[in-house]
């Protein structure tokens, strides 16, 4: 049986809310890792801003 992958692009548009939430949580974690290894303060800030947006989405899912 085939299961949907929360990291796949199609999951974004066609998946269930639970799958999108799982993908969001994965992205927040991944962005935290990327921010720590970012080249330069602007790139780091850019990644942190993206993470902020996904945290906002995660809160929306969880409220």
């Amino acid at each position: 049986m085939e299961h949907s992958n929360p990291t796949s692009p199609d999951a974004t548009a066609r998946s269930t809310p639970a799958e999108r939430q799982a993908r969001t949580d994965w992205l927040v974690t991944e962005l935290g890792r990327l921010a720590a290894a970012a080249d330069g303060p602007h790139e780091q800030a850019s990644i942190r801003r993206t993470a902020d947006s996904l945290v906002r989405l995660a809160i929306a899912f969880g409220s």
């Binding site: 692009p9 548009a13 992205l27 947006s53 989405l57 809160i59 929306a60």
Partner: protein, 376 residues
């Protein structure tokens, strides 16, 4: 009046677009924060701000976040401390990097306030639910960032920051959300041209909507840029079909979020172009179902080659082959982008806001609600 009290007066109030009494320019960080919401509201022309007047100081993870409960979260090191320093050195000449730092901090403040904006009476709960729908986050972030970039100088002037930090309007700060902003700008510019609107108008209109209204409003702009409103009966489903295409295209943009800004911006722009082509193709297909093709576009039937053909009893229209419209030929085979993401397992779900302290004038106490360790 404290910052919270002053700002609380801002929340969920109708817009006062032409205040009779001018406010004195903020002379401190507290006063800046107190006025930050009302000035953003006036600048936008939105019906209300959902900001509850509270600013929570964060350390570490969150740079800026407009919480669904109406609270504004701002990072101490990158946002609040630089602005505190700005007022401690008011009127002094600063280095360009310092001015850029101030400008980026204020751009973040304005961006976050943009998230709180909406029509009068808009529900945050409805907006929050809509934000989880495909494409909503990408559009809202792109609109908030583009609008904040476009109106930052005006915001600084209205808050008197250009006097506190001379030269701040002469420096450029790098924008954020490179995966979303170029797409939003390209789509907006296309719709402005098609709907005979002035530059920036679509972003302004979208910025006055919450997540509940943004994608539907964008779909309406697409729909109204076609002949379909004159061709279709009221209640036709085409607008919803266009909205679903928009959502799918916008949702794909987050594929580029984890890439460097330059690459993300280029892919965002390209994706928007493909999305626009898809939308226009669908709209024109729907239009073609309602209009008869002019005779000039018909390809004449082949010359009769057999006597039997001359005596054919087939209806005349069956012998007339319509040429495919040029746009169908040009766009045949184009489909929405199918981006690729690395397959990495997802961790356990989280969703709270990280480390924070309540920002109050003159103090930085611990936030009562523990939001430590979230989003990690």
């Amino acid at each position: 009046m404290t910052a919270e009290a002053a700002a609380a007066a801002t929340a969920a109030r109708p817009v006062d677009r032409d205040p009779v009494l001018p406010r004195p320019a903020p002379g401190s960080l507290d006063e800046l924060l107190a006025q930050s919401g009302q000035v953003a509201l006036q600048l936008s022309g939105a019906g209300q701000s959902a900001w509850n007047g509270q600013v929570i100081e964060t350390t570490g993870s969150i740079l800026g976040l407009a919480h669904w409960d109406g609270t504004l979260y701002l990072d101490r090191e990158c946002i609040l401390d630089p602005l505190q320093q700005m007022y401690e050195h008011a009127g002094e000449t600063q280095s360009i990097p310092t001015l850029v730092h101030y400008r980026e901090a204020l751009a973040t403040v304005l961006h976050e306030h943009a998230h709180f904006l909406g029509p009068a009476g808009a529900s945050q709960d409805t907006a929050r639910k809509a934000f989880t729908q495909p494409g909503s986050r990408q559009l809202e972030e792109g609109v908030a960032e583009a609008w904040a970039q476009d109106h930052l100088d005006d915001y600084l002037t209205r808050l008197g920051v250009d006097k506190v930090a001379p030269g701040i309007k002469d420096v450029q700060a790098g924008g954020y959300y490179a995966a979303f902003v170029p797409a939003v700008r390209r789509i907006s510019a296309d719709l402005e041209a098609r709907n005979n609107l002035h530059s920036g108008q679509v972003i302004d209109v979208l910025n006055r909507e919450t997540a509940a209204g943004q994608v539907p409003r964008l779909a309406s702009l697409v729909y109204n840029s076609t002949r379909l409103p004159d061709l279709e009966p009221i209640g036709a489903d085409t607008s919803h079909h266009l909205e679903s295409i928009l959502r799918e295209g916008l949702a794909h943009l987050d594929t580029f979020e984890v890439h460097p800004s330059g690459y993300a911006a280029a892919k965002s722009h390209t994706t928007a172009g493909e999305l626009l082509q898809h939308l226009h193709h669908e709209a024109q297909s729907a239009e073609s179902a309602h209009v008869s093709h002019p005779a000039a576009c018909a390809v004449p039937p082949p010359s009769p080659v057999t006597p039997a053909r001359l005596t054919s009893s087939a209806p005349a229209q069956a012998q007339t082959r319509l040429a495919p419209p040029p746009h169908q030929t040009a766009l045949s085979g184009i489909s929405p982008p199918r981006p690729h993401l690395p397959a990495t397992p997802a961790p356990a779900a989280t969703g709270d806001v990280p480390a924070s302290q309540v920002w109050k004038p003159g103090s930085r106490g611990a936030h009562p609600a523990s939001v430590e360790n979230a989003a990690r």
